[in-house]
Symmetry: C2
Subunit: 401 residues, 2 copies
């Protein structure tokens, strides 16, 4: 058996991963209606003015502003309505002195008009419109190109698409856009004991958890989870599985990287590429490996479900988001007193899951194999390498899941 | 033209919506691999123990603990290796006094053994294993059912599925689950001037923005956006569109609820159901209507893109999440000095978009028709009804988009 002789600090592991991965270059054209959360692969430059014409910003009457100067409720001016334009229509006539055109919000300003008197400042009797307040030129008018001008760079390449950015592209009349492809993440569980949920368990076998937690977390952070078949603990099967999985952008194995006769993942990475580290001084998640095969990053996650998922949060998610060109996650944290004494392994940076109950952080951790400890947790606290005990009532920072 | 005579405060609008909507009851069965972000529609009770057997928690040697009592590096005890079990295998033999079985992490504990000596505490020469440290019964052993016991309620109905909860269900061997259906949201843009992106614009026409921003925000908050065709401003077309859209769970119109001869949405809601409010004392977004037709909530959003999107964030998202049974969004806020004077409309609760630049909140708002003002904004500040001016350097709370 090969012991895990040396471990590296978490920060160094993060740095190595960061120096290794590259943001995805593959792009694809998609419908704008499907673009939320995607990342623009080319800048959006407008070829049109938005709005494409000067338009009424209020329901009312399009006028020549000068015809309204000096008016008031006590000294109204009567203008003659010569037409009525609804939104989507264009006035057929040009406004002359003493004339007005009734206009709906959003309709194009008629020729000859330079302002809109809002309906609340008028009195209507037939086609005689009494204007009760003056307007200045351009009042209640949306200028052509006031939102976006032709030639304007509306969004730079690399922008992640929010609802308002999707709307900005729609405003330009663009129905399809180029975005970066979502990184495809091959997810492979290794181990002779691993059985798909839905299949019966033989003695000594357990159901696959890691394929499910990894696929779930990948789908939440801009990746396409590509679950592969379970790989048995032979160098041949593992080698075949790696060759198939190299079709994807990222490879994530779980299991097979702990100490033991069967830590074949390392042998495979070393044979087909380079092992960049094996072993991190964190708990849980110490037996984590990372390497590169054919330019593709390969994560060897621990087999224990909570170790695997914790390391996915800490190492895989930031890497995946950078590859997907998504903005880094700002951690959501809360500061609370600890409800119970926590004992930590010295010499390892520990992630300790907690549940928030009545404003207090309660330990939720059972054992690193216990997935239920995470499903009941709200987040985790970090205990530095050289701290072994954290007393109750200590104020701790909980990073929320 | 019908003026918007009375408006209600924002809180009242929220209360009315809240009192009207009902959480969705429709359920569907889906694959566990697709379950992330979905909401459980029935509780998950385990029928099995996880792990299903007592297992080695370390690589090492399964022993009778009593055989190791009193051992030390200076006084080791030699045990005879009678077998070797890898993970996924079951020992064929039973351990007797003075015997041990080599065991890999995760393999079932052999009959007769009650503890595991970790490999680091042994010396191996052939089948003679020198034990260098004692273990107590159950040491380095994961108890059967230690994570989940048969009969245990693992997750309650109504839980939103995170990666760890998906993993908990996988652990039970369950491949498909019942979840609540995602509310289907009919999205309808009204207006003769509205044209789909990709189609050419006739004079006086503009491209549809709201259908895209609304579909985008709906897809981010647990809904299925169902874009409908654009509806023209006739009572007949609108009536037909409403009848079609009643197949969905929620109806969201944009446009057609402002003052004007064509505010037909209100007439349609009143004819087919009940208008519960029309007009909120907020800016932007005053001409917002809400009602019920055939038990389905109907939102009449303003036509102006920023007004429509702002009200979607403020009114539609909380309602949609409640209907979808998702947890309420905790707003993410930052506290910053304001970089520029902001003048607000008194008498209306104002939402003012801002961009964060060098630690200062800078106004990003141009006009309520301007979608670009939102696509460049990081969030918004709220200015209460009775404040008309906020001076530079005032500390403001920015709610991030």
């Amino acid at each position: 058996m090969r012991p895990l002789t040396s471990t590296i600090p978490l920060d160094e592991a993060k740095r190595i991963i960061n120096d290794t991965i590259r943001a995805i270059d593959r792009t694809e054209r998609i419908a704008l209606l499907d673009a939320t959360g995607r990342v623009l692969a080319s800048e959006i430059v407008s070829t049109v003015d938005v709005p494409p014409f000067a338009r009424a910003a209020m329901d009312g009457f399009a006028v020549r502003a000068e015809d309204t100067f000096g008016t008031s409720r006590s000294e109204p001016r009567v203008l003659r309505r010569i037409e009525c334009v609804f939104t989507g229509q264009v006035a057929q006539r040009r406004i002359g002195a003493g004339e007005c055109i009734e206009i709906a919000t959003g309709a194009p300003l008629p020729d000859g008009a330079d302002a809109v008197v809002m309906v609340e400042d008028t009195e209507v009797s037939g086609d005689m419109i009494r204007v009760l307040a003056p307007v200045v030129p351009r009042q209640n008018v949306g200028r052509q190109g006031s939102d976006i001008e032709a030639g304007q760079r509306v969004l730079p390449s690399g922008d992640a698409l929010t609802p308002s950015r999707v709307g900005s592209i729609a405003a330009l009349g663009i129905p399809t856009i180029d975005v970066y492809a979502r990184p495809r993440v091959a997810i492979l569980s290794t181990g002779n004991e691993i059985v798909e949920p839905g299949q019966p368990l033989a003695p000594g076998h357990i159901h696959d958890i890691n394929k499910y937690t990894l696929a779930s977390i990948v789908s939440m952070h801009g990746g396409v989870a590509v679950p592969y078949r379970t790989v048995s603990d032979t160098i041949d099967d593992l080698s075949r599985a790696v060759d198939e999985a190299l079709n994807e952008d990222i490879l994530v194995f779980s299991g097979g990287s702990s100490v033991g006769e069967r830590d074949l993942i390392l042998d495979i990475i070393a044979a087909k590429g380079d092992v960049l580290f094996h072993g991190i001084s964190v708990k849980p998640g110490k037996p984590t490996a990372f390497g590169v095969i054919g330019g593709k990053p390969v994560f060897g996650m621990p087999g224990y479900p909570t170790s695997c998922l914790t390391n996915a949060y800490i190492l895989l998610v930031p890497a995946l988001r950078r590859i997907a060109r998504l903005p880094a996650l700002e951690p959501r944290t809360v500061t609370l007193p600890l409800g119970q004494r926590v004992v930590s392994a010295t010499g390892r940076h520990q992630f300790y899951t907690v549940r928030i109950e009545n404003g207090v952080a309660m330990p939720a951790f059972k054992a690193s194999g216990d997935i239920t400890s995470m499903s009941r947790a709200d987040g985790y606290i970090e205990i530095p390498e050289h701290t072994d005990i954290v007393e109750p009532d200590t104020i701790v920072t909980v990073t929320l899941f």
